[in-house]
C-alpha cells in the first residue's frame, strides 16, 4: 500500500525521484493533459449550472480521483514515488525546504515573477508552460506577495469541527465542511487562499502548471480523510436527485465510471503517514 508522506519528511533520494518523475511526465506530454483537464473544469463549473470539480460537493471526491490518476502516472515512471502533502499550517515560510533548489525551487524574481531556481525554472529547458492563459512560457510564483495569508491551524481546526459535509445550494454560497474547506466562505478561506499565497500560475485556472498544486491538494485530501475520521457518521451529501450536482452515486466527469461513493475510503488506494 502506497504511503503519502509530509513533504518536509522526504529524504534527498525521495525528492530527487519525485522531481525526475515529474520532469518525465512533462517531457512525454502527459503532464500538460492534466493541466488542460483542470482548466476545462474550472472554467465550466458554475454556481448556477453544472458543477463537478469545484464549488460543489464533488470538489473533494473529484480531486481525490484526479490525484490518484496523476499519482498512477508518476508510478508508471518510478514505482517508488507517491504524492507528498504540504501542510501549509506548519511550513508557512517562503524559505521552507519545500522551496529549496533541490525540490520545487523558490519564489519568482520581482521583475516578472519568473521562477529562476530549482528543477522547474524556465532556464532548464525542461518546464515550459504550454497550457496557459497568457503569453508567458515560464513558471511564475509570488510567494506571500500582496498581503496574502496562509490559513492557520486554528482556522483549519474550526473547519474540521463542522459536522455537516455540505449544504444547499451546493455551491460557493454553501455553509458546511466542504465549502469552508474549499474557501469560498469562512475564516481563512482555506484551500483558495493557498492558491492565492503561492501566486503565479497557482492562482489561475491552469494552477497544476506548478507542481506544488499536487502537494496542496494532497493536504486538502488528507484533511477530508481527517474529517471523516472525526465524524464517522456524517455522510457525503447530497444523497440523490440534485440538479446540476453530483449526488453520492452519480458518476463524475471526465471519467464517467467513478462516483463520490467510490472515493470515500481513501485506504483502498493509499494511506497517510499519520
Amino acid at each position: 500500500m502506497a504511503v503519502r508522506k509530509n513533504q518536509a519528511t522526504l529524504t534527498a533520494t525521495e525528492k530527487r525521484n519525485l522531481v525526475n518523475a515529474l520532469l518525465e511526465l512533462k517531457r512525454s506530454g502527459v503532464y500538460d493533459g492534466f493541466v488542460r483537464t483542470h482548466n476545462e473544469f474550472i472554467m465550466s463549473d458554475s454556481d448556477s449550472g453544472d458543477r463537478v470539480g469545484h464549488r460543489s460537493p464533488s470538489f473533494l471526491p473529484w480531486h481525490r480521483r484526479f490525484l490518484i490518476q496523476f499519482e498512477q502516472e508518476l508510478q508508471k515512471v518510478d514505482a517508488s514515488v507517491t504524492l507528498p502533502y504540504w501542510d501549509w499550517t506548519a511550513d508557512r515560510s517562503a524559505t521552507s525546504s519545500l522551496w529549496g533548489a533541490d525540490f520545487l525551487g523558490g519564489t519568482g524574481r520581482s521583475r516578472d515573477s519568473q521562477v529562476t531556481t530549482g528543477p522547474f525554472a524556465y532556464s532548464t529547458g525542461k518546464w515550459n508552460i504550454n497550457v496557459n492563459v497568457d503569453s508567458r512560457p515560464y513558471l511564475q510564483r509570488e510567494l506571500a506577495a500582496g498581503g496574502a495569508q496562509l490559513p492557520t491551524r486554528a482556522q483549519v481546526d474550526a473547519v474540521l469541527a463542522m459536522t455537516t459535509y455540505d449544504m444547499a445550494p451546493w455551491n460557493s454560497a454553501s455553509d458546511g465542511f466542504r465549502n469552508n474547506l474549499e474557501g469560498w466562505r469562512g475564516q481563512g478561506r482555506i484551500h483558495n487562499s493557498v492558491h492565492v499565497w503561492v501566486g503565479g500560475q497557482m492562482s489561475t485556472g491552469v494552477s497544476p502548471n506548478d507542481p506544488v498544486f499536487w502537494m496542496h491538494h494532497c493536504f486538502i485530501d488528507k484533511l477530508w480523510a481527517d474529517w471523516r475520521r472525526m465524524h464517522p457518521t456524517s455522510p457525503y451529501l447530497p444523497a440523490a436527485g440534485t440538479t446540476n450536482v453530483v449526488d453520492l452515486n452519480d458518476t463524475m466527469r471526465p471519467w464517467n465510471n467513478v462516483t463520490p461513493a467510490d472515493m470515500l475510503d481513501h485506504t483502498k488506494f493509499y494511506t497517510y503517514d499519520r
Binding site: M43, S46, R136, N171, A173, S193
Partner: protein
C-alpha cells in the same frame, strides 16, 4: 460587497470614461472617472440587474466590460457579461454572492467585473491573454 450606490456612481457615464481614456495616460483616468460621477448614464444597462459596461485604459491596457454577445464565451459562462483586455477575452465568472473571478485570479473574488479586469492587468505585467481553449 461595496455599496451599490457608490458603485453605480463610479460606473455611471461610460461615455465620459471613454473620452478620458482616449485622451491620456492612466493617470488622467481618475479625473475622468470623477467627472463621470455627475454625468448621465449612457450605458443603457443601469438598473437592469446586470453589471454596468465599462471601457477604460488601466495601466496602459484597454479594459472593456459589456453584456456578452450571443455566441461569445461570456454568453455561456460569464453570466451574460464579457470582459476584454486589449481586445482579448478574459474569462470571467460570477459567484452566487455576486462577486466575480477571472481565469487569471480564479481563487480570489472581486466585487465587480471592472475590479477583476484591473486585477488581471496587474497580474499580467504586460503579457497578452491567449484565446480561451474551452
Amino acid at each position: 460587497m461595496s455599496s451599490n450606490v457608490t458603485r453605480r456612481l463610479v460606473l455611471r457615464g461610460t461615455a465620459v470614461a471613454i473620452a478620458g481614456a482616449a485622451l491620456a495616460a492612466p493617470s488622467a483616468l481618475a479625473a475622468g472617472r470623477a467627472a463621470s460621477t455627475a454625468a448621465t448614464d449612457h450605458s443603457g444597462h443601469g438598473g437592469h440587474g446586470g453589471p454596468e459596461a465599462f471601457d477604460e485604459v488601466y495601466q496602459g491596457r484597454r479594459i472593456v466590460g459589456r453584456p456578452a454577445e450571443a455566441g461569445s464565451h461570456g454568453a455561456h459562462h460569464g453570466g451574460g457579461f464579457s470582459v476584454l483586455i486589449d481586445g482579448q477575452e478574459l474569462h470571467v465568472m460570477q459567484n452566487a454572492d455576486g462577486t466575480w473571478i477571472s481565469v487569471v485570479n480564479h481563487y480570489e473574488p472581486f466585487a465587480t467585473p471592472r475590479a477583476v479586469a484591473r486585477a488581471a492587468v496587474d497580474k499580467l505585467r504586460g503579457a497578452t491573454l491567449v484565446p480561451i481553449a474551452v
